[in-house]
Amino acid sequence: MRYAFTPEEEEFRAEVRDWLKEQLPDDWNGIDEDSLEGWNMSRLMRAKLADKGWLTLAWPTEYGGQGASFMKQVVFNEEMSFARCPGIDGSAIKMLGPTLMIHGSEEQRRTLLPPVARGEVEWCQGYSEPDSGSDLASLQLRVDETDDGWVVNGSKIWTSMAHRADWIFFLGRTNQNAAKHRGISFFVADMRTPGIEVRPIVNMAGSHHFNQTIFEDVHIPKDALVGERDRGWYIGATLLDFERSGVQYSANGRRILSELTDFAREQVGSDGRPMSEDPQVRKQFAELDVDIECARLVAYEVAWMQSVGQVPNKESSASKILGTQLMQKLARFGTELGGMYGMLGPGSEYAPIDGKYPKMQLTSVSSTIAAGTTEINKGIIASRGLGLPRG
């Protein structure tokens, strides 16, 4: 038992913190990564991180990483999140990379991984379909084998960043007769392949982040298949476990709480005194302080389990639930602190903290839905974690 990082890890933390301070503009306070400006900044930082060797820190050296321990990766992710630094392509680095390392062929690893490590490519993920959300295994995108490869027909939805992606990894049905989990395969495809069409879906916050990605007679080569045919569900499941450690939530939460602390000290409430002296506001601060700590320690537990070779599942579900609920609570609190001004969004005259929190209220609606809803995760905790029978 040790609730502290090692001196080496703390040294690395300081190094990352200092480096980010140098590389990011003065008074940097984050950016909307969905905007064009944000995307440009994201690519700039990605190139810098790749040069520094930190973009794929946790990957083995043979694939362009540093083979960093899980805990070192935790430290890095915390600092990136706290600094609000863009540039990490999570779907490529945290999902595709580890999947290829476990299930990919040597050839796939050799050709697909180095460009990710160099920060040259953007990947997107094609899992959900219009009729297959939480019941992902019911997916219908059809992939038929041809003489020289595969032909894909169907549609993927909520494909984040597909409009900027060079590549997509996706799940498709390769066996119409097998049980639903056993007829799915895992593929990769170049987004420039003829027949792939990306249609924007603008979200309720007014941003273009999601898309619907249509496949119409899309021919992809034999080696687009990752792992064994019809085993894609299980390959995809490995990958979801990578996605759910969630240490970025608490680090982001810490930054937000510190920003809101400063704001509450200056903002005068209806009684003419600073908001920070209002007992109700103080109580909410303390509650959020505790919520952040819960999310942080549960995320550490997930990372620690990975570091000792255990496979977290109910633990990562708990981390995801706590982290995403925290984001929504912080967004509400940040908005409420502004009083009437809390309704003013980014770019508005008089908007406190540039309208960040009312906007976050909107964007964070997706956090408890994307990548496994809170309800699906509770189901995982109940069935896989506690052994309760499936309903």
């Binding site: 609730y3 990082f5 602390t261 103080r282 109910k314 706590l322 109940a382 309760l388």
Partner: protein, 376 residues
């Protein structure tokens, strides 16, 4: 960051679980609720033999010399089993108080006895104000005489006061709130010390102790004269962290009990554990147990390492004082009517939750510590 238990800690947990299953089942817990003394000498002596009482007592005084982390692992188990008797008051409060402030003579005499099972202690702090603050000790006075002190006043909420051989009494010796308290070690067989039981809904053995012209020698002062609050502040951290460990362990027990029940209870032709409504209740409990355990262990580890644990203790107690009663409430909801009966064991934990959430500061108090530490 190492979330795992060491080999020693695993050994403590496993042997504690085994021992308590055998010697402290809920039948025993129920019997002790009705018992006049509230524990048996037989079990108490076994605790001494197992080394539990002196777990954190240094080896030179006959203890096992372990850190508070190990004690917290043990407290998770005693919390789950609701171990009756003054174990917490002695092995946590008594031992830590003597370690924090005892003179060499006090330590070599009293810590050795405590570890040996021959000294049970209790903390006599509260008065009518009943807050965990220095100001709230105002009625109990200690007057210096030529060869000692005379104590007068009344203490409330003295947990295990009736069972204790020795009380750690906070008395006012100066006017300045935080620099006018002194701690005294007072033997309970003194004819001028009286006790009467308070009837809590938790059966947790709270007494009112009255002191009428109780004279004690100079050597009974624990720590410095007027330096009592500084000891208590630290002692309350151990107390709060210890209660968090108890609640974390008991929370896991509530979860296990609930999962077991909903798996076996059949309604509408199915195990009710297959219903999403029940599964989500169980998942909520599991998340709270997981988070609570981490917060509790972090607080204990900070204390055990001798680090400033102010924030870590406040985070843990602010959380568990809310989350643990909620875990109990959810357990009841999942159990339905049977959990409401006296015959079923669930209420044994639920009733104790009230005392645990209030002990060493409730949520509101620890939230206050957090906002202050954040500079608000």
């Amino acid at each position: 960051m190492d979330i795992g238990l060491s080999e020693t800690q695993q050994l403590i947990r496993n042997s504690a679980r085994e021992f308590l299953e055998e010697n402290c089942d809920t039948q025993y817990v129920r019997a002790m609720e009705e018992d006049e003394v509230g524990h048996t000498d037989e079990l108490w002596n076994q605790l001494a033999e197992l080394g539990w009482l002196g777990l954190t007592v240094p080896e030179e005084y006959g203890g096992a010399g372990m850190t508070f982390s190990e004690l917290a692992i043990l407290l998770e188990e005693t919390g789950a089993a609701m171990l009756p008797g003054p174990f917490f008051s002695t092995a946590v409060i008594g031992a830590e108080a003597l370690k924090l402030a005892g003179s060499d003579d006090q330590k070599s005499d009293l810590l050795a006895k405590l570890a040996d099972g021959k000294l049970k202690t209790a903390l006599a702090f509260h008065e009518s104000g009943a807050a965990w603050s220095a100001e709230s000790v105002s009625e109990m006075t200690a007057t210096e005489t030529e060869d000692g002190w005379i104590l007068n006043g009344e203490k409330r909420f003295v947990q295990d006061g009736a069972a204790a051989d020795m009380l750690i009494v906070a008395a006012r010796t100066g006017e300045e709130a935080e620099h006018g308290l002194t701690l005294f070690l007072v033997e309970t067989d003194n004819a001028n010390v009286d006790s009467r039981e308070l009837k809590t809904t938790s059966s947790d053995r709270m007494s009112v102790m009255s002191f009428g012209e109780v004279s004690v020698p100079k050597a009974s002062v624990l720590g410095e004269v007027n330096g009592g609050w500084q000891i208590l502040e630290k002692l309350f951290q151990y107390g709060a962290a210890g209660k968090c460990a108890e609640m974390a362990g008991a929370g896991q027990k509530m979860l296990d009990t609930t999962v077991d029940y909903v798996q076996n209870r059949v309604q509408f032709g199915r195990s009710i554990g297959s219903f999403q409504a029940i599964q989500h209740h169980a998942a909520d409990m599991a998340i709270e147990v997981q988070a609570g355990r981490q917060l509790a262990r972090q607080a204990a580890w900070f204390l055990g390492e001798g680090l400033d644990a102010t924030r870590q203790v406040a985070l843990a107690k602010a959380y568990l004082s809310e989350a643990y009663p909620r875990i109990c409430a959810t357990a009841h909801q999942c159990h339905g009517a049977i959990g409401y009966t006296h015959e079923y064991d669930l209420h044994l934990w639920t009733r104790r939750a009230t005392g645990q959430r209030l002990a060493f500061g409730d949520t509101k108090q620890h939230q206050g510590t957090l906002t202050e530490s954040a500079g608000l």
